[in-house]
Symmetry: C2
Subunit: 452 residues, 2 copies
């Protein structure tokens, strides 16, 4: 369709990727992107590095300005414009211009929903105080940086020890702040198994992060100045200068319900492999959507930037008349926490158990280099292999070097459904400074083979 | 067969691996390993690190002593015993005991040939001088170290800029020696394509290694003390305190000819995928053998430690009554040269051209991390993709960090015959400290896809 109008709702990773791809596929299309905040194309993953001081210029986090998207990609960008309603029968969306509070009716030929996700809230009193922060957007970051600098915050409580929580713990420690990390489970980072979680806990403690396990946050006690001064939990009360709430995200899909857009896990939008929703002409992408897990073949909710951009591309291409497909993902995630690299790909044992796989697991500790080479470090690898098919279901790695890039090699094997036998025969290079004669991955593979 | 006698000739990577594997598979077998030198299980790949001083204790390079092989693996090891003749019709080998010069007749039920390869010689006068060295064995290393220390060598000439030659250049530079590297081609490291070779040359020059291209060594001029003092080439004469000859290796197979063992490329033994030679009951493994290239399906001669151990395992298992198979290899090799990491896997463009593949190539320069993260370095990736099948045929990478482990990820893709489209969809993790949102490998994949 020439001169089609493609409306994109949301301007972070998925929305801008979708819009840019649509513009490339169909240069004659008119593409309008509405974003409720004042910033598009913001690098959410990099926020902790800005807070921690590794990145000093916040502008670096903005990949595209609205002007740049308009000039380079031919996309009309309207910030501070919020979706109010979708009327599929009329191919129309209702948008509120937050500058003037006026209402706009916008027709579409194709609609791409990339509304993302918002920080989950505790929903307790005091959470709206000016020293309670979330880590999700440009304005979150600006407010937090401003607060730390102006009020010389010395103590912080972080509620939730997921990726964001532990990254923020490190960022604050780089600012020499005292950190208490409150978590509702025994160990930090639920997305890993206990073997790696124990190492994460040790790394946090080694770096003076106080970890409070099995803690339920019950109340915020405010000072007269309207700031939270104490966080009350079932494990005691903790004094603080500021609070970060990092207990996960919820997809921004509430508004889709009246349009009868089908939702699935976590209320994320159900889409097919072309990123089509159940509603004609309506696509969805990014953190507001489910993602198919390639290992299990089932839907999952894994709001990662990589998935956001890829699903954005597919939605954008298809909205513009293409036939792109998204294979799904395998939940590859990694981080460096102080001096510990950790990575996961495929399924954890917890996930394999809950999905009732018949699996074998193994946990090996081996050398990152030839053991007598300078700089050799230990590397820790957990593998999970399906007993029936002998395929690698998942891997988790930890150590001080060479962890994350190795995880990508296993990710390749998992996604292409290699058996552990095939994996163990891979021809990797050998150089004493980079691995022992048998790379740690092959050591792990040979070890678990003996258990099958 | 119970109480079978398995004779192994050669005690470096392939021979000891074969013997150990045979002992594990058939604990009742009698296994005797003959090694012509005084040392078994010597870490040849680590020699440059010993010369360079990264490793200070030479004993570290000996993985197993004869005693340890005997005690732990139940292998009888006879050093200073050299193969003289194979008599297949009588299932017998003739061995010379170099201690006493006496001759031993040894019957075998199975024979494993792992005689390895020897440094190729220039065959010019003066090459036998005591300051001309090869880098292949324990005694080579001991003599070289001894010479450097005792004679305070300040200048060295290295003939041949392959892996060993450039590694030795770095090792000598760490000893503050002046280095001239003489090569018979325009660029160093023939196993790479020109894009990467240029970077290697630059790295050598940056580190004060004088590289003399297109040079043919014509003569050694000796001093009165019987040492080479000048190396004469068609590009001039060079004064030196010592010479290293590193112009490749030749398989030690001369002695096999009288037994009518079939030889192939470079006179290496032809074996099937069970490491069987054409002669009944006779197996071969390691640097004396051809290796099947998985990408081309053709024999190749790639004397690497990884292939030696793997083919040793297969030969040992099958000699002991098993049914193991060796898939072949893809010529994955890597090194760090001063601060430059380089790696290759699969075919180079030179190889693809000579094999008449119809290929597309691409060379991208991208970031190893998010470009504004501290420590970001450039990474250089050359990809070669088959036009017909769209499979990745080969890759070469260079850069200051994150090169070699990434090459292993591409090796996985090449060995499992992924198309570039499949490769570009791989779900790698993203963390700003380890890669840009799109890993350099995916950037390279997406770039070459546009050329297909």
């Amino acid at each position: 369709m020439k001169n089609m109008k493609i409306i994109v709702i949301g301007g972070t990773a998925a929305g801008t990727s979708a819009a840019a791809k649509a513009a490339r596929i169909n240069p004659a299309a008119e593409i309008i992107l509405f974003e409720k905040s004042d910033t598009v194309s913001y690098g959410v993953c990099e926020i902790p590095f800005l807070i921690g001081g590794d990145i000093t210029d916040e502008n670096k986090l903005i990949v595209f300005s609205p002007q740049k998207l308009s000039q380079e990609k031919k996309i009309t960008v309207k910030t501070l414009h919020q979706l109010e309603k979708i009327i599929p029968s009329k191919h129309k969306v209702i948008i509120r211009d937050l500058n003037s509070s006026s209402i706009i009716e916008q027709k579409y030929d194709r609609l791409i929903l990339a509304t993302g996700a918002s920080p989950r809230k505790l929903n307790i009193k005091g959470e709206e105080s000016r020293n309670v922060f979330y880590i999700r957007s440009h304005s979150d970051t600006a407010m937090l940086l401003n607060y730390i600098n102006n009020e010389k915050a010395k103590k912080a409580i972080i509620i939730g020890a997921g990726f964001v929580g532990v990254e923020m713990a490190e960022a604050f420690r780089k600012n020499n702040m005292e950190i208490t990390l409150i978590h509702n489970k025994e160990l930090p980072l639920d997305d890993f198994d206990a073997e790696i979680q124990q190492m994460i806990l040790q790394e946090l403690r080694k770096n003076q992060v106080e970890f409070v396990p099995n803690a339920r946050t019950e109340a915020f006690i405010n000072s007269k100045s309207g700031k939270v001064e104490y966080v009350v939990t079932n494990k005691g009360s903790f004094e603080t200068d500021l609070v970060v709430v990092a207990i996960g995200v919820v997809p921004n899909t509430e508004i889709f319900k009246s349009a009868r857009i089908r939702l699935g896990l976590n209320n994320a939008v159900k889409v097919n492999n072309m990123q089509e929703t159940n509603i004609d002409r309506v696509y969805a992408a990014g953190d507001c959507c489910e993602v198919k897990n390639i290992v299990t073949g089932r839907p999952s909710y894994v709001p990662l930037a990589t998935n956001a951009v890829r699903t954005g591309w597919v939605a954008g291409e298809n909205a513009a008349g293409g036939k792109a497909k998204f294979d799904g993902a395998i939940f590859s995630a990694a981080m460096k926490l102080f001096s510990l690299e950790i990575a996961r790909t495929g399924l954890t044992e917890k996930e394999a158990t809950s999905l009732q796989y018949n699996y074998v697991k193994d946990f090996v500790i081996t050398d990152s280099k030839v053991h007598f080479m300078p700089g050799n470090k230990k590397i820790f690898i957990k593998l999970i292999v399906d007993k029936l098919t002998k395929r690698i279901l998942g891997a988790q790695l930890a150590g001080e070097e060479g962890v994350v890039l190795r995880a990508n090699t296993i990710a390749t094997a998992i996604q292409t459904k290699l058996t552990i036998e095939e994996f163990s025969r891979l021809d990797f290079s050998y150089f004493p400074m980079f691995s022992p004669l048998w790379d740690p991955l092959l050591v792990a593979a040979n070890s678990i083979k003996r258990k099958l």
